[in-house]
């Protein structure tokens, strides 16, 4: 149904795609695999008409496929869910969906259709809500529903499940299977190898912009697939050498009103974090994760005495003062929250590292120092990019994520709080990011990991709590915990399920 032949695309300093050939059959769920920056997003953007290939041809249903823009691609029957959201914050779900349509039906009818599709596919969504009030997972849902409304013949999904809960992801796969059975071809990008092994029919593997292999993912183990992607075996994670020290961070009776009508209020959250310890916080997105991180980072201030770092009260201080005190944070949304998309990496380094790294003295920016610091993050975290002058938005999703986490880790915080640290990061790089958090803890820092990925939490954390409707459960030691037990323990956290037993 869809065929690409010898596709090539260059960006300044990188060959993003080189002589890529592959095909997708109708009714097939076809996985596109590869490390961060391997060129997956670039390839599908060409199919969707967002980027023009430098060379090569594509055919769709036997017709030459050369979309000048996404509209032409949509007319040819291609739909796409993006890795990063392209939604207008100020508008409602229905308005956003109408904006993406050629001939939007009347508002009432559209809302009804949205409600219908979201019921059919088990993706709950209220068409009247404004985007700004939605969590990352819910925003992804808007994008998915937007595509499903088009009845596409080739549906492209660029990491659609990275912010969905395991349960939501299962429902999505049921949806995709139904669609495929009706003859829709599906091109699926994900870094979750287990997900691909259970649900995809075939996989094409990219490395450094070239096709290196094509296989049946069900016939290989996740480890094999990862090895094919990187071209070498992966290192197991090393949890050794950490000892819990003195109490670093104390959060008590932290209650915050919901920041917006649809946000989540925090209800007397309490936790203690010791030096050398990693505390995992699980739960479904939209249960106060963003709000908890904002309260820790200083974006939201709380009542006096609610946040103590080494005994000093930080509750009333802003982000800069907290960074100086040693409390650092990395929010979930990397484009637009953790980083300014239009700024270079050097400028984005300055965004949070100004004070601790001496990049700003008496208000003056030391630009060479900012560049050098960005370069050190790029090197230490293996960020694939031409250099610190590259704009953040030109990085592949996973590479920007590595940069954003690396920027905080390298500042040697006393306490680091991260939200979804490996969202969209490939298996190899995710292991590297997790290892860096473990190493940070080994050096005596305290780390809080907020994540929806139970495997990640089990792999990293010493103690585990669940965040549910703004309430934080008492911590339990992770030692000896099984995924099943956590599943039971999270009984209160709606929809949180075990990824794979």
């Amino acid at each position: 149904m869809f065929r690409a032949q010898g596709i090539g695309k260059s960006y300044p300093g990188v060959r993003a795609n080189d002589d890529v050939s592959f095909w997708v059959a109708p009714g097939e769920i076809h996985a596109l695999l590869g490390e961060n920056g391997a060129g997956k997003s670039t390839l599908v953007k060409m199919i969707y008409g967002l980027v023009r290939p430098d060379d090569g041809q594509m055919t769709l249903n036997g017709q030459p496929h050369q979309p000048a823009d996404p509209r032409a691609a949509r007319a040819a029957g291609v739909a796409m869910v993006f890795q990063h959201f392209s939604l207008f914050d100020a508008l409602t779900v229905a308005e956003n969906i109408a904006l993406g349509m050629e001939n939007p039906p009347p508002r009432r009818e559209l809302s009804a259709r949205i409600a219908q599709v979201s019921r059919d596919f088990g993706l709950p969504l209220n068409p009247a809500r404004r985007i700004v009030t939605l969590s990352a997972g819910e925003r992804q849902r808007v994008e998915i529903i937007r595509c499903l409304l088009q009845n596409p013949r080739l549906l492209i999904m660029d990491e659609p499940t990275s912010v969905l809960t395991p349960q939501e992801a299962e429902l999505l796969f049921a949806t995709l299977r139904t669609l495929a059975d009706r003859g829709t071809a599906i091109l699926y990008i994900s870094h979750k190898l287990d997900e691909i092994r259970t649900h995809c029919d075939r996989a094409t593997i990219l490395r450094h912009g070239r096709v290196v292999d094509s296989c049946d993912p069900r016939a290989h183990s996740a480890r094999d697939l990862a090895a094919m992607m990187v071209g070498g075996a992966m290192r197991p994670i090393d949890r050794s050498g950490r000892r819990a020290g003195e109490v670093l961070l104390q959060v008590g009776a932290l209650s915050q009103p919901a920041p917006s009508a649809e946000g989540t209020a925090l209800k007397s959250v309490a936790l203690t974090l010791r030096a050398g310890e990693i505390l995992g916080i699980g739960g479904v997105a939209g249960n106060g994760q963003d709000e908890l991180l904002a309260a820790l980072s200083g974006e939201a201030r709380s009542a006096p005495g609610t946040i103590l770092l080494g005994g000093a009260d930080l509750s009333r201080l802003g982000p800069e003062a907290r960074r100086r005190a040693g409390l650092l944070a990395a929010p979930e949304d990397r484009l637009g929250h953790a980083a300014v998309p239009d700024f270079s990496l050097a400028e984005n380094a300055l965004l949070t590292a100004g004070a601790r790294k001496g990049l700003v003295r008496k208000g003056l920016i030391d630009r060479p120092a900012a560049r050098a610091f960005a370069e050190s993050v790029i090197r230490a975290f293996d960020v694939r990019t031409p250099g610190p002058g590259t704009a953040a938005r030109a990085l592949s999703g996973g590479n920007l994520q590595k940069f954003v986490i690396g920027r905080e880790v390298i500042q040697a915080p006393r306490v680091l709080a991260v939200n979804q640290p490996t969202w969209g990061v490939d298996a190899g790089a995710a292991a590297a990011v997790r290892q860096s958090l473990l190493d940070l803890a080994r050096s005596g820092a305290g780390v809080i990991v907020i994540s929806q990925d139970l495997d990640e939490l089990l792999e990293l954390s010493d103690r585990f709590c669940a965040l549910n409707e703004g309430r934080l459960s008492d911590p339990v030691p992770t030692e000896g915990l099984t995924l099943d037990r956590i599943g039971l323990m999270l009984g209160g956290a709606h929809g949180m399920e075990v990824a794979h037993p």
């Binding site: 967002l50 000048a68 823009d69 509209r71 974006e299 003056l364 920016i365």
Partner: protein, 358 residues
């Protein structure tokens, strides 16, 4: 059919080319307009854009260039800082008027004393007046979420009423034979803002404009505050995460642009205008918005754009004198310039594509 498609990458060259294109298109459209009205288009364009600098009477008009460009550049430098952060001060005209009044108030109170302190005190008072007038929309936005666009614009009309009241009331020249308007500050040496180098038109306002260009350039490219301003304009959530308080930025940007506009008003009233009348505001505050955008919100661009718009003022007046062109010519030209700039700007963010039928 032809449609606009968002660009994925913006060619850097377009940033510089569009203002130039806009100027050329304005000349073209202006010429066309003159031709329709029955004037010789080539002569008219030459009179407006060439003669003020190189024509027979250039020795009279050339100094005017700096006189008119100084307030435009001074105001636009401040506005551009706020515009970069997405803070829209549309009321620089009002801050200019209030600055002229508070600055003049110092001089009129001191009259007839002599002293080196008088002129600097006037400059400070002018800046303070403009700053205070700019802080009104800032505080209303920070406290109640009121739109600074509307509030600052409305305050222009309030400022104009205050100027009229001053000219007819408290500031009226007691030796003015009942005519409205204050004493002429040009005739009060301690308060006057004279031409510093004869024949150039350069007064203290020109010096201040150059300093403002340098200072805002430094602020935006070297100082962390400027970095935060750019971050807030590009990604407000990321700026807040970095530690920027939006309220602080609103107050800083409106205060700064207000102070610079107020200072421009003072230099004008103590120099070229000479006195407070009900017509102190001559539109520099509005034209400066065009200057800021035409200059791409960049200090160097603003310098060039300020000179160009000053040229349209002088050339327009010249054309009115020598060719009998209507007085509205200047406004039409400035309006067209903004129109074409915004039009061509579209092309930096979108490209033109033919519709492919579905």
């Amino acid at each position: 059919m032809i449609r606009l498609v968002p660009r994925t990458e913006t060619p850097a060259l377009l940033q510089v080319v569009t203002p130039v294109l806009a100027v050329l298109a304005t000349m073209l459209a202006g010429g066309l307009l003159f031709a329709v009205m029955g004037y010789d288009p080539v002569a008219a364009i030459k009179t407006i854009f060439w003669d003020p600098l190189f024509g027979p009477a250039a020795s009279y008009s050339r100094p005017q260039l700096l006189v008119k460009a100084a307030p435009l550049i001074l105001i636009a430098s401040g506005l551009a800082v706020g515009f970069r952060a997405g803070i829209w001060n549309i009321g620089a005209e009002g801050q200019y008027i209030i600055g002229a009044i508070t600055g003049a108030a110092v001089a009129l109170t001191a009259y007839p004393a002599a002293g080196m302190w008088i002129f600097p005190a006037m400059v400070i008072a002018g800046a303070a007046g403009g700053w205070a007038w700019g802080m009104i929309p800032a505080l209303l936005r920070n406290w109640f979420g009121a739109s600074e666009i509307l509030v600052s614009l409305m305050l222009v009309y309030v400022a104009q009423r205050i100027a009229a009241w001053m000219a007819f009331g408290p500031m009226k020249n007691p030796e003015g034979f009942g005519f409205p308007g204050s004493r002429n500050l040009q005739q009060y040496p301690a308060a006057a803002n004279p031409e510093l180098i004869p024949g150039t038109g350069a007064h203290w306002g020109v010096v201040a404009a150059v300093l403002a260009v340098l200072a805002t350039w430094f602020l935006m490219s070297r100082h962390i505050r400027g970095f935060h301003i750019r971050a807030a304009g590009a990604a407000p959530r990321a700026a807040r995460f970095a530690g920027v308080k939006p309220e602080t930025l609103v107050a800083f940007c409106l205060g700064l642009s207000g102070a610079l506009a107020g200072m421009a008003g003072l230099f004008e009233v103590a120099g070229p205008a000479g006195q407070i009348t009900d017509k102190v505001g001559v539109g520099y505050g509005f034209t400066a918005i065009i200057v800021a955008f035409l200059g791409r919100l960049h200090p160097v661009g603003i310098l060039l754009a300020g000179l160009l718009l000053a040229l349209t003022y002088i050339g327009g007046e010249l054309a009115q004198l020598t060719m009998n062109l209507p007085a509205a010519t200047v406004q039409v030209f400035q309006g067209m310039l903004l129109f074409f700039l915004l039009g061509f700007d579209l092309l930096t963010r979108y490209r033109i594509a033919r519709r492919i039928t579905a």
